[in-house]
């Protein structure tokens, strides 16, 4: 039993409190206090439902030098996440029932955040032959995706949507036309041309989203079940517009945005630092504004980290050779709490929703509200400011484009079904 005294509650429905929250048996027992062996002072802190990340690269199996389940899931709970979807682009890719079961089992054994493995849409993520969606779902796969691969073959994507629909599995896509992107390493525009870096045009994203939405229409027409297309890490204004139009037209599409696209722009590349190399690339302020608007008006359903750890040595290559990706599990919430809520007045309940109910809805999970009887998967957030110190990350990727940024809203306590999985003493 745990009692958190005098704490403000925030979930998708709003803010309440301060209240005394009594937790026991994996549930919220009372919001009116009670007796418990562990009593925590919640004064000045916020209690929110545990976060769910739809998009994290944990690199296991195969690239444990970059990250593994233990470090990745520890990073997750330190970031306030109680649930996490791992991307299947491991080596080998997660495309079998056995691979999903092995990940689930190992994660259960670790007892940190709950793992919902993403499985490959196609065998080997090669975009040719569909992977066995039924057994993958049985084993516990949360969604199907070829992730970094861009599903060049529209027919395969259509078949994947048709196959996943009756199983209730979303198909998540990295929306980028590879033939238009070419070898681009940053946003294509005047800055890329000035820096002499190959550009990745915003139109590469829009072109692929437009195509994928037509593929979704086709699958909808062909299927009695409703196929669900989830668009990963939107980065452009036009991409947001396309998703907005599709949602207005009633298409079953959802979308996510990342902490880096919401807080950094292409300007970060001026110093030629591969820390900022990410796919899709950091875009312009105008794109960032459009993403924010999309978060506010419901076009975007979730904030997903796209936590993509690499070794520092790899990230110290040049911009052509360094791999794409930024690690962010541990700081996603404080970053957006500080930059969006505190600095820009983004409503806190909506921000929390984008970390909780939004991503849960994408996976078809019930919302987590702070009420008596609810599952006690919770995070206690401390508004005290502290700088980002990558040397203390649990993730193996101990570098960060936000190193030194002073952020508030750090998770001080994370509970999974009432069990303490992270606590700052």
């Amino acid at each position: 039993m745990i009692l958190i005294k005098n704490v403000k509650l925030v979930d998708a429905r709003g803010e309440r409190g301060p209240l005394d929250v009594l937790i026991g048996g994996g549930r919220i027992l009372s919001l009116e206090g009670g007796e418990a062996p562990l009593v925590l002072d919640g004064t000045g802190k916020l209690l929110a439902p545990g976060f769910l990340d739809l998009h994290a690269h944990l690199r296991e199996p195969g690239e444990e030098v970059k990250e593994d389940l233990a470090t990745g899931l520890l990073a997750a709970v330190r970031g306030g996440y109680t649930d996490l979807v791992s991307m299947p682009n491991t080596k080998p890719p997660v495309d079998t029932e056995e691979a999903v079961l092995a990940l689930k089992e190992k994660a259960r054994h670790l007892g940190l955040a709950r793992l919902h493995p993403g499985a490959a849409l196609t065998l080997g993520q090669e975009g040719k032959t569909l992977s066995p969606a039924g057994p993958l779902k049985e084993a516990g796969a949360a969604l199907l995706t070829d992730d970094g691969r861009t599903n060049e073959d529209a027919g395969v994507l259509a078949a994947g949507l048709l196959q996943a629909a009756p199983l209730g599995l979303p198909v998540a896509v990295h929306a980028e036309d590879a033939s238009l992107r070419r070898n681009g390493v940053m946003n294509d525009g005047p800055l890329a041309h000035r820096l002499g870096l190959p550009g990745n045009p915003p139109e590469a994203e829009a072109a692929r989203i437009a195509r994928d939405l037509e593929v979704l229409r086709y699958a909808l027409r062909r299927s009695k079940a409703r196929p669900h297309l989830h668009i990963q890490h939107l980065s452009t204004k036009r991409g947001v517009e396309l998703v907005r139009e599709a949602k207005r037209a009633g298409l079953p599409v959802t979308a996510e945005a990342t902490p880096h696209h919401l807080t950094l722009t292409e300007e970060a590349l001026r110093g030629f630092d591969p820390l900022f190399k990410v796919a899709p690339p950091l875009r312009t302020e105008e794109d960032q504004e459009a993403l924010l608007e999309g978060l506010l008006d419901g076009t975007l359903d979730a904030i997903a980290t796209d936590h993509a750890p690499h070794t520092l040595a790899e990230k110290e290559w040049d911009l052509l050779r360094a791999p794409f990706g930024i690690p962010s599990l541990e700081i996603a919430f404080p970053l957006l709490y500080t930059e969006l809520h505190l600095r820009r007045g983004f409503p806190l309940p909506r921000l929390v929703e984008l970390f909780t109910d939004g991503p849960r809805r994408v996976l078809g999970l019930a919302p987590l509200h702070l009420e008596e009887g609810a599952e006690a998967s919770l995070v206690l957030l401390d508004p005290k400011e502290a700088p980002v110190d990558p040397s203390r990350f649990a993730s193996k990727a101990r570098y960060s484009p936000w190193a030194g940024w002073v952020l508030a809203g750090w998770p001080a306590l994370t509970l999974v079904e009432g069990r303490v999985v992270h606590r700052v003493e």
Partner: protein, 301 residues
Amino acid sequence: MRHLLDFQGWTKQEVESLLDTAKVMREVLERPIKKVPALQGFAVATVFFEPSTRTRTSFELAARRMSADVVSFAAQTSSLQKGESYKDTLLTLEAMGVDAYVIRADAAGVPHQAARWVKGVVINGGDGQRAHPTQALLDAYTLLEALGSLEGRKIAIVGDILHSRVARSNAELLPLLGAEVFCAGPPSLLPQSLPGARLTPNLEEALEGADAVMVLRLQRERMEGGLIHLEDYIARYQVTEKRLARAKPTAPLLHPGPMNRDVELAGTLADSSRSLITQQVQNGVAVRMAVLYHLLVGRER
């Protein structure tokens, strides 16, 4: 000036002072004994992550003419993939006592990254499509020799602008000296914008009344398929006698080399009296001596 990465933040005075030094170095190179002790005790490393003979030789000769010790590090892509990173390569050289690094790489920004890693001086010997500042300096020097002053002069740069570090560096440098830069090439080989230059797909517009014409190599190795049709390029953009007639009658012709004869430039023009291609190469050594001198001499060691 601590490093030479590009011309961001440079003033006209700094450029002029460097080019004045180059003039002195040029005189040194005309002496019977072409050597001065200015850099005695300094070690200069040419660290070429991308192959190049011309630039490397020019830098090494420049360093040797000033009595520096020269280390030559040639890292072909294959050897880099044996495991040692750029950073470790440079830190190893630093541990051996290198004072200045001339860095050439196929990726933009490597010299900028290097400047964050090493304590010594970094000179950009050409990075990807980004910058080739010593080439621009030697172009400017050659143009000044030919034209006297660049104030109000129209300089036409013709060819594959998109992939050209030479065009980018010239577009940064020449306007500092008062020149107006026009860059012309087919639309698929023009960047969206380039500060310091006027971009046009119209070759005739760029050449019209130009005081000098610089022709760039068609960098087919950097092109993804489908950017141009070679025959069509030659038909519409090759600098020929007839097209050059739009420029001032005395307008000199430059090319940073290596040249694709009869592709971007008619071979006869390359060998004509208007061509300054050989002078560019000669001036390259003097300009690089001046750069090394400015960056190393008087610097705290």
